[in-house]
């Protein structure tokens, strides 16, 4: 792979804390290698800000290999930037060319308030999981793992749904700030497995109720969530959620 260097203009959202009014600040970054990840560009920029006696830019990041779901930059109008199925930390500067301007903002959603600069509070996702994103099995209760065979097709589909990293890009991408893809992925994963069957209906109802309570918007099927999901979670799981929810709702009103 050919390497090259570039000079870039970065426009970055700066916001002191959750109450402050934020604004975009402009920075020039020189001699960026195409082999760097965008977070490494922020490392370099922060190093120079610190050396100049200024406040570095706060951003969430941890594993830097696309799996922890911490990183969350809204880059040139797209969550996680221009590459499909890629987290911010895996976005490498080959995606850009000399002279480019890159605008970086935090996730924008009512349910994800800004903590500082590019860092947002995604604890609403934890609370949705608390509402039912689990199978109630205490440690020690399990039967032998091979005692219940699972059709490989369902097992594979459950795995695809379970690939969600909880980053929130789906919410940030959605004009309504809907969390349907996140919720749909978890509800589907557990509904597709025999182990998830006993709580299937209450799970769908309770997780959706919590999602609404957290202030996430409704789904209007624009599919922006799937397009921006770094793990390529399919909107088919939203359809699955709708069907699970409807089914559960009908049964619920029966009882």
């Amino acid at each position: 792979m050919e390497h090259y260097h570039m000079n870039l203009t970065l426009k970055v959202w700066r916001q002191k804390d959750s109450k402050a009014k934020g604004n975009l600040e402009t920075y020039q970054v020189k001699d960026v290698s195409s082999e760097m990840s965008i977070l490494e560009v922020f490392d370099v920029l922060n190093e120079s800000l610190i050396n100049d006696g200024k406040e570095p830019i706060a951003f969430d990041h941890d594993c830097r290999e696309g799996i922890c779901g911490a990183c969350s930059m809204y880059i040139n109008g797209q969550p996680h930037g221009p590459w499909a199925k890629t987290t911010t930390c895996q976005l490498h500067m080959r995606a850009f060319k000399d002279g480019d301007t890159i605008v970086v903002e935090p996730w924008r959603s009512r349910a994800f308030p800004v903590i500082k600069d590019l860092v947002v509070d995604r604890s609403a996702f934890d609370r949705i999981i608390q509402a039912g994103g689990y199978i109630s099995v205490n440690t020690g209760n399990a039967v032998d793992a091979n005692s219940i065979p699972v059709d490989k097709r369902y097992a594979d589909a459950a795995f695809d749904a379970a690939a969600c990293i909880g980053c929130g890009a789906c919410v940030a991408a959605c004009k309504n700030g809907s969390a349907m893809l996140f919720v749909g992925a978890k509800v589907s994963q557990l509904a597709l497995l025999p182990q998830g069957e006993p709580e299937r209906e209450t799970r769908a109802l309770n997780m959706v109720a919590q999602m609404d309570k957290e202030g996430f918007g409704s789904c209007s099927n624009t599919y922006a969530c799937e397009a921006e999901c770094p793990k390529g979670i399919s909107v088919a799981y939203i359809a699955k959620l709708n069907s699970e929810y409807l089914h559960a709702g009908l049964n619920d009103s029966d009882s």
Binding site: M1, E35, D60, D62, C68, N146, A162, I165
Partner: protein, 658 residues
């Protein structure tokens, strides 16, 4: 102070059963009144917090990430071992135990390892019951694959995302307990000290990383599940936030540190590309099931790898270790790569890399797939097309990750890989009950030293984290807490809390007051270079002595010239990092001291002075068959204690994978 490992009497296979049968229990009404603090929410922490809460204890769990689901266990790729013998290939608890003790180069405690092997099967059952979507065969049963250092297939996996799926299972169990009010969760919180009252751990001092506020939390017991310290090397496969702080604070409060120099350098990572590099990315060991490792036979080879014919390639692992081939343990594979590169056979622009090639696997799988479709004479293109699909199903996410980072397509050309720091076998010394030398203070998972000796086998970290959390601590903690039922919650106004908080506050204020000229990151990088060059894959007396002095000097410089922007009482990642790097600067010194004192090679610890004629690690059992447990006396001053290792079952021999 003497080290009492508290290994139960009796035959190896009966110890754990006997222990469980006689251990003290806490009745349900008392469990409610007992408070347990859990630091870290990775596999060990989340599984422990959830299990203890299910039993009825009142749990407080802490993590520095914004959600417990992001703990670095999430990034584990390849799999988890368990002695299920689903493949009917001769696996058993004994074999898993044996492989682990041998793989650890006879520097682990047999009784702990046996228990680990014993509970391994139940882990898989528990995870499946939680909805963990392990890979399955067409018949609907679980699939297995091989990992390094063993000759059976006992590794369960979920593509290359096994850690993620296991952690999400434990995380969901944890969140269920949060919903039930049995766990109080503190995200974006960092533990900064252990509070010890009358010789027992009674709580912690934590800092809220959003507000900067310092908090006091009482607990009848404190569990450290805070992971390893590989980031002392700056560049490692650890997450950026992974740190030694919780374990180090405990160490300074009296918990001995076991075998700190035992570091695992993983053979298959994406090589360093430049000075900007912030971390290294692992390519799962599972790739060695199908990938063949080689370098050109000719030095300064300029041809593309695809253009080098087979007879001009040196498949050096297959050549040196015909019995295990590409699946030798990690320490062996790493050193062999270093040896080839040091000799001048390395590839890529830096010449510090070797090839990991899937060409043969693609053809092999392609042929099988074509055969299934009735085509017994497939042409090259057909085999390649079909074979790529099989490889994609097995390793697709890893190949994608490789391509994003390097810009090269590993389906068409071999990966370039090089060893990188990945895991630390060393950790807080614990007894059979996972208790440190401070009563009431426990260490689980990577944070303790106990199960992997001097080298961890692949797919065993996940096993150990979950074994400790789901199936060990629920029994052993009760044995201690049964004696605490008469201890009411101690108010956090107690002078010991006051004192610990002041220590924490003073250190933070001291850091902020330095107002020097060099960033935290820069100090961290400099420390990492010293550690990698002198306490890395190969170590010698001269280098280690130099490293100790260099680290001392660097630490002095840090405390007089570090620059931390911002304020204390706000969200300030630079300040968080400064505290952690300050601890690494102490930890690094102890690692070098430990490496210096251990004048033998074993597992990942390779002392150049101690090698066989063939360049393999040469142990010195007569003098070093013990756990080195270091007691912190005062700054820069440690006392060595030794826990002798007796091997009643697996008799130590020179490890051979030939």
């Amino acid at each position: 102070m003497s080290l009492e490992a508290k290994i139960p009497e009796g035959a190896m296979a009966e110890k754990w059963t006997d222990y469980k049968g006689h251990v003290n229990l806490v009745n349900p009404a008392n469990k409610r009144k007992l408070e347990v603090i859990v630091i870290g929410t990775g596999l060990a922490g989340a599984s422990a917090a959830a299990s203890l809460a299910e039993m009825g204890y009142s749990v407080k769990a802490f993590c520095f990430q914004d959600s417990p689901r992001r703990a670095h266990s999430i990034a584990a790729q390849g799999g988890i071992n368990a002695a299920k013998n689903y493949q009917n290939d001769g696996d058993s608890v004994f074999r898993l135990f044996y492989d682990t003790v041998k793989g650890g180069d006879y520097r682990s405690r047999e009784a702990n390892v046996y228990r680990l092997a014993e509970v391994s099967a139940a882990i898989i059952d528990q995870c499946v019951a939680q909805g963990v979507p392990f890979a399955r065969e067409y018949g609907g049963l679980l699939s297995n694959r091989s990992f390094g250092g063993v000759q059976v297939q006992r590794t369960f996996y979920a593509a290359g995302q096994t850690g993620q799926q296991l952690l999400l299972g434990a995380y969901s169990a944890l969140e269920r307990q949060v919903a039930l009010g049995k766990v109080e969760m503190f995200s974006r919180h960092e533990m900064l000290d252990v509070v010890v009252i009358d010789g027992k751990a009674r709580g912690i001092i934590a800092r809220d990383l959003v507000s900067g506020k310092i908090e006091r939390h009482f607990g009848h017991a404190v569990l450290l599940c805070s992971g390893g310290y590989g980031n002392v090397f700056y560049l490692s496969t650890n997450a950026m936030g992974s740190n030694v702080t919780a374990a180090w604070k405990a160490h300074r409060k009296g918990a001995f540190f076991g075998n700190p120099c035992f570091t695992q350098i993983h053979p298959t990572c994406i090589p360093v590309s430049g000075d900007h590099q912030s971390k290294l990315t692992l390519m799962s060991e599972s790739l060695r099931n199908d990938g063949r490792i080689w370098v050109p036979k000719k030095k300064d080879e300029t041809r593309k790898p695809q253009d080098i014919p087979d007879e001009e390639r040196d498949y050096y692992l297959e050549r040196r270790y015909p019995a295990f081939g590409n699946l030798v343990p990690r320490d062996v594979a790493s050193r062999a790569a270093k040896e080839r590169c040091d000799e001048g056979y390395g590839v890529g622009t830096t010449k510090m890399a070797v090839y990991l090639d899937f060409k043969d696997a693609i053809i092999r799988y392609g042929k099988i797939e074509a055969g299934k479709a009735g085509n017994h004479n497939p042409d090259q293109d057909t085999m390649v097309t079909l074979g790529k699909k099989v490889v994609e199903e097995k390793y697709g996410n890893l190949f994608e990750m490789y391509e994003k980072i390097t810009g090269e397509n590993p389906y068409n050309q071999p990966m370039r890989i090089y060893p990188a720091v990945h895991y630390t076998m060393g950790g807080l010394w614990v007894d059979y009950e996972l208790q440190t030398t401070v009563p009431g203070l426990y260490a689980l998972g990577e944070a303790n030293f106990s199960d992997h000796g001097a080298n961890r086998l692949g797919a065993s970290a996940l096993m150990q984290g979950l074994a400790d959390g789901y199936f060990v601590i629920p029994y052993t903690l009760g044995n201690y807490l049964a004696g605490e039922i008469r201890t009411p919650a101690i108010p956090t106004s107690h002078p010991a809390f006051e004192e610990a908080e002041n220590t924490v506050r003073n250190r933070i204020e001291k850091l902020m007051g330095i107002k020097g000229t060099e960033s935290v990151e820069s100090f961290h990088k400099r420390l990492g270079k010293i550690m990698w060059n002198k306490c890395g894959m190969a170590r010698n007396e001269k280098g280690l002595k130099e490293a100790v002095e260099e680290i001392k000097a660097l630490r002095k410089e840090f405390w007089s010239n570090v620059r931390i922007p911002g304020e204390i009482n706000e969200f300030n990642p630079e300040l968080d990092k400064a505290g952690r790097v300050g601890d690494f600067l102490e930890m690094g010194e102890l690692m070098c001291i430990d490496a210096l004192h251990r004048r033998e090679s074993c597992g990942g610890h390779f002392r150049e002075e101690s090698q066989t004629d063939e360049g393999e690690a040469k142990r010195d059992d007569a003098n070093f068959s013990y756990v080195a447990a270091w007691e912190f006396k005062s700054d820069e001053n440690w006392e060595l204690h030794k826990e002798p290792l007796d091997f009643e079952i697996v008799k130590p021999t020179q490890r051979s994978y030939k």
